[in-house]
Symmetry: none
Subunit: 159 residues, 2 copies
DNA sequence: CTAAAATTGAGACTGAGTCTCAACTAGATT
DNA sequence: AATCTAGTTGAGACTCAGTCTCAATTTTAG
């Protein structure tokens, strides 16, 4: 089953009306790994120019509220979004020198986390773990000779 | 030694000119646990109204580039900043509704992390863990009526 | 002291995202 | 199928955070 069909069902189950525009925006959104809101606007309009900017942003809010959209913030520039529906949860280990990204799962973390959250009376909605370091290869390279770290940008994934 | 003195030294060592305005902004910034940029602008101006908004934002960029400023993003609203220099490591639990930020330490977590990193041959340099959720109060409040109090935690006052 | 370089204040500007509202559906109900 | 109505849309004005410009000022180097 296509991912967007399942997401449409998810929205429907929440009593959200499925319009032509929403279907289109959702389909374009799931077709990208990472995208900025404005990129999505342009992408949707390349297919159906009449779709309003506000409509696209409203769909992003719907997906966010449905818990299937992640936002990746950087210091510079607009955030990148990512539809996470149907993807297994994972965290990230990144090399600050070469930009390598390792994705991994750690159930003990996830358990510990629930514990911490309950201690403070919180209801957990989502979380982000990012580990920054040097990969084996980069540990043995003279920093002066090392290639510039490719800025994480769209490759950076937040759990 | 006061934290802001050490930060001023850090900036100086980077060849950054220390002006009266910069000293004031740094001192006000380190006096808060978490703050939005606009809160800092208002805070600084309460002491010295002539300081320009741009000056405050420029100091934030300097602190960021010096690696002593962390940015905490939410879905709604502006990011919160935090001067991390000289503080014991901690992670964050944030309420997405009211913006409350709880800092906590979890040694088991940190240990587990070292383990994971070593498994991949990495040398850990830094990390961030952010847990997003609803605080106890916000779980029982209609989102539409929820107040949005800025959580301006004052740690120390600098004249 | 003087000149060059960096920083500042003020406010215009940008860009992301939100809001308003009249016109328009999707989907429920005859 | 026709009707009804609450939810949705397009268009563009609007808000807000953050950046930029530039003349005036301040700092540092010589
Ligand atoms: Zn995790
Ligand atoms: Zn590497
Ligand atoms: Zn930690
Ligand atoms: Zn709250």
């Amino acid at each position: 089953m296509k991912r967007f069909v399942l997401i449409e069902q998810l929205l429907k189950d929440k009593g959200i009306r499925l319009t032509t525009q929403r279907r289109l925006v959702v389909r374009r959104a799931v077709s990208h790994l990472h995208f900025t809101a404005e990129e999505l606007v342009a992408d949707v309009r390349a297919i159906e120019p009449s779709v309003a900017r506000g409509t696209v942003y409203r769909v992003l809010i719907l997906l966010h509220e449905a818990g299937v959209l992640e936002k990746h913030d950087f210091w510079h520039g607009p955030p990148y979004y990512e539809v996470t529906f149907g993807k297994a949860h994972h965290d990230h280990l990144m090399c600050v020198q070469c930009g390598e990204i390792i994705e991994f799962q750690e159930p003990r973390w996830e358990r510990l986390q629930e514990e911490v959250v309950k201690q403070h009376g919180y209801q957990l909605l989502s979380h982000t773990h990012k580990l920054y370091g040097l990969c084996e290869r980069c540990q043995h390279v003279d920093p002066k000779r090392a290639s510039k770290p490719p800025h994480l940008h769209v490759e950076e994934v937040v759990a």
